[in-house]
């Protein structure tokens, strides 16, 4: 029985990585009294598929994960019972049964949208706007990550700044999240002149194939 769950990850749980999150799902589901299905083979693993890893330190408001249960249980009961077993910072938004032969969630993710908030109002709106315009006008942005060269520019679908009525400007962007073509928002921020301790990142949405916005 395959269930697709939409969840948010926030608070201090942003410092738990994807591998550990997998274990958290496994244990929470056990505690809630449901039996996860296991993969076949030499090292049977519980069948949990996180759509796209959320980098350490990022919060996510619409993350996706598929899990497989041995038995079919009423979905509302499942959601209710599992919710009571989750650690602080993890929250279930939606649970739905989906077809077992539906395509893998991992392969359907094409892009991610991020919201970036600053800890300090160190630069003016105008200054950031200018930097964004300059960056977006470039035809390529050669960068290196873990010793590999790549071009960041085609991975940026869009990038803009949002001045809240009250408060500091927020940067919004949509970056490619395909295998071997994943844009990292922190790399974009570096190009704009900000280091990792200058801002917080929330992934507001995962964009799947067949969806447009």
């Amino acid at each position: 029985m395959r269930i697709r769950m939409t969840f948010s990850k926030s608070g201090m749980l942003v410092f738990t990585g994807t591998l550990d999150l997998q274990t958290i799902w496994e244990r929470s589901i056990r505690r809630a009294g449901f039996q996860l299905d296991y993969s076949h083979g030499f090292h049977p693993q519980p069948r949990i598929q996180i759509a796209n890893p959320l980098p350490l330190g990022y919060s996510g408001s619409q993350e996706l994960v598929d899990i497989w249960l041995v038995d079919k249980v009423p979905i509302e009961m499942f959601k209710f019972q599992l919710s009571s077993q989750l650690p602080e910072g993890l929250s279930l938004k939606e649970c739905v049964y989906i077809n077992d032969d539906a395509p893998s969630i991992i392969n359907r993710v094409i892009a991610s949208e991020y919201q970036i908030q600053f800890y300090e109002n160190s630069r003016s709106l105008k200054n950031i706007e200018e930097r964004i315009t300059n960056l977006m006008e470039r035809t390529n942005i050669p960068r290196q990550r873990r010793g590999k060269s790549y071009d960041l520019r085609p991975l940026i679908h869009w990038l803009n700044i949002d001045q809240k009525v009250k408060g500091w400007p927020e940067i919004h962007m949509r970056l490619s999240s395909r295998p071997n073509a994943t844009g990292r928002p922190d790399e974009v921020m570096l190009e704009l002149g900000f280091g990792i301790t200058d801002y917080s990142i929330n992934r507001s949405q995962l964009i799947l194939t067949g969806e447009t916005r």
Binding site: L13, E26, I29, R31
Partner: protein, 622 residues
């Protein structure tokens, strides 16, 4: 004063720049967080190593559970920050804080620190320092937390006497209530720190080091240790609980990977074997068992409360539990039903029926461990672990026959009176086991031996013996290595210096406080981590304080000598220990005390019957 909110925003912003940031945030499932103003007493419980190591510490989880069950108290956790985090905290002037509410440790009423082993001493100083608490007990004032330490290392509290306000000697389950009651009352009366310590000192099992004076002879030996506060109280008697309380069920479930993630149930405390080198065996007397019923029920509840898929049964010698056959049978059944993996670390295979061992075989076979400790029957008689050679070999062949391929063997070297022949017997035994393995399971068989250097520990019959020298120890290792290098046997050999360091600190007196402080000032920390342990810093620290380190190690002590830990009373008499030493020299063994009482002193010290106290009240389970 830095507030929780400020610490929280610091964490949110800067934790991305350190390794494994999940160590520093708490929020685990089953964590208990109370409102600060709802309770009278605030206890910070510290394990002086990183989160990954300290998280599963059983002692602290018991105290965490007990304290948080009280309506008037809260307990929160704290661990040592790793090097990168310490730097970050210091550079932002962030004091050490508890994981639950991010409250600075310095704001708590009590800082309780677990000290199970000596290599955590410098980390403890570091914890005090990052918290902003003065290192020295006598520099603290009424606003500072009362610093209390407990755990096995505290059975010789002297090396840490300058830094700890009060030591708990013995088991914590009952005394913690008395300590909390007393501090709560005194706090409501706005009692001063001095008064609080005075009154804590009245509780049996509490040692206030500042109330004792140690006088030395001109040769550096101790003349006497006197209580300058209350001449009636000469020794501090260890606390025991007559019946083991129910195990903790709602264990915390970590959000990041830690060293041991499993349900641990202590099935038995204490050991009746009486191995003469074994400190734990002497310290944890008398033997107390948990009932099969309680073990199984607790396991089931803890599995449901945590979602863990591994369980472990803890004890010094599991197969000596009177109900072990029934326990294993029920645990196996439970594991099968709940899809759980099971490990039993302290097995004496000779007391097992093959059918039971067979039922324990899992698909993925791990190591099987045997600890002969010594190579010759003679040496095993000296240390009172008299398993005959034939029995060890029979056990090994049984293990191979049942399908295990990896066998791990534990040995110790460095006993006094150890001859070349004793070392040859170790080599010989390993070779014989290796060829057994080859014959029974073939080329897949792997033998792994671990050789430790014997440390004469306080409160054991060997406490008067000397610790071996580097030359002797290395010559013996070389001999074993040369003889076994072509056999394919893997040999583990911990650094002599690390054992030496442990010997200094476990056998030391009050003068070591200044050495520990000097070493810490030179940057010694994480001494339990071999990659961070730096013997140079320690040697310099001894030099600076004009102390000869060999005074604590390679010197044999006379039974007349006043030992630094003599005022700590573990209930086992000094007479018994010295008789055991003499028997050891005469190659006489002492039987398991379940068969005959050797009057070690524990029964009269606590007015108990070992026979009665051992068996748990309800043993029926079906």
């Amino acid at each position: 004063m830095m507030q929780s909110k400020q610490i929280e925003s610091f964490l949110k912003r800067y934790l991305v720049s350190v390794s494994k940031p999940g160590r520093y945030v708490g929020g685990e499932f089953n964590q208990i967080q109370k409102k600060w103003s709802d309770v009278d007493l605030h206890v910070a419980l510290a394990f002086p190593d990183i989160y990954d190591i300290g998280f599963s510490n059983l002692g602290l989880s018991i105290l965490y559970d007990i304290i948080n069950r009280r309506d008037d108290s809260l307990a929160e956790r704290v661990y040592s920050p790793w090097i990168d985090m310490e730097e970050l905290m210091r550079s932002h002037s962030i004091p050490l804080y508890t994981l639950e509410s991010k409250t600075p440790v310095i704001m708590f009423d009590i800082l309780g620190i677990s000290l199970p082993y000596e290599s955590l001493y410098t980390n403890l100083l570091n914890i005090l320092d990052i918290s902003g608490i003065p290192l020295h007990s006598n520099h603290r004032d009424d606003h500072h937390p009362i610093v209390i330490a407990g755990g096995h290392a505290c059975f010789n509290p002297e090396p840490m006497h300058a830094f700890i306000d009060a030591f708990v000697i013995g088991e914590g389950e009952e005394i913690i209530q008395e300590v909390l009651d007393k501090i709560k009352l005194l706090k409501s009366e706005h009692a001063s720190r001095t008064v609080i310590l005075e009154r804590l000192g009245e509780i049996s099992g509490i040692y206030i080091p500042s109330f004792y004076k140690v006088r030395y002879l001109s040769n550096g030996l101790i003349k006497n240790i006197v209580n300058i506060h209350n001449s009636n109280q000469k020794r501090i008697k260890k606390r025991i609980v007559e019946e083991l309380p129910a195990p903790v069920i709602r264990n915390l479930v970590p959000n990041i990977k830690t060293v041991h993630e499993r349900v641990v149930i202590e099935i038995m405390r204490g050991c009746s074997r009486g191995c003469r080198f074994c400190q734990a065996g002497m310290l944890t007397r008398p033997v107390r068992e948990r009932s099969t019923n309680q073990i199984i029920v607790s396991l089931k509840e803890a599995i449901n409360a945590t979602g863990f898929t591994d369980i472990s049964l803890l004890s010094l010698s599991a197969s000596d539990h009177s109900q072990i056959t029934s326990i294993i049978k029920h645990v196996m059944r439970l594991c099968e039903k709940m899809q759980i993996n099971f490990s039993l670390p302290s097995l004496r295979i000779e007391s097992f029926q093959p059918s039971l061992i067979k039922s324990m075989l899992s698909k993925r076979k791990g190591n099987f461990t045997i600890a002969p400790e010594a190579g010759s029957d003679e040496m095993r008689a000296r240390i009172n672990k008299p398993i005959p050679q034939e029995e060890i070999l029979a056990t090994a062949s049984q293990i191979f026959k049942m399908g295990w391929t990896n066998l791990k063997l534990y040995f110790m070297i460095g006993f006094s009176n150890e001859s070349t022949e004793d070392i040859e017997k170790i080599i010989d035994l390993c070779k014989q086991i290796k060829s057994l393995g080859k014959r029974i399971v073939g080329g897949r068989s792997k033998i792994h031996i671990s050789i430790n250097t014997f440390i004469p520990k306080p409160h054991t019959p060997f406490q008067w013996l000397s610790f071996t020298t580097k030359e002797k120890s290395e010559a013996k290792y070389q001999m074993i290595y040369d003889a076994l290098k072509k056999t394919g046997i893997k040999i583990d050999w911990p650094l002599y210096e690390h054992a030496q360091f442990e010997a200094w600190l476990s056998r030391g007196d009050r003068k070591l406080s200044s050495v520990i402080e000097s070493a810490w000032k030179k940057g010694a920390k994480f001494d339990a981590w071999h990659e961070y342990f730096a013997i140079d810093k320690w040697l310099q620290a001894f030099k600076e304080n004009k102390i000869d380190p060999s005074f604590y190690t390679t010197r044999e002590r006379s039974v007349e000598e006043v030992l630094p830990w003599d005022h700590v009373d573990i209930g086992v008499s000094r007479t018994f220990l010295s008789k055991e030493l003499v028997k050891s020299q005469k190659l006489e063994t002492t039987q398991d005390c379940r068969s005959v009482c050797h009057a070690c002193g524990i029964q009269s010290a606590y007015q108990i019957s070992c026979e009665k106290i051992r068996k748990a009240h309800s043993c029926v389970f079906e």
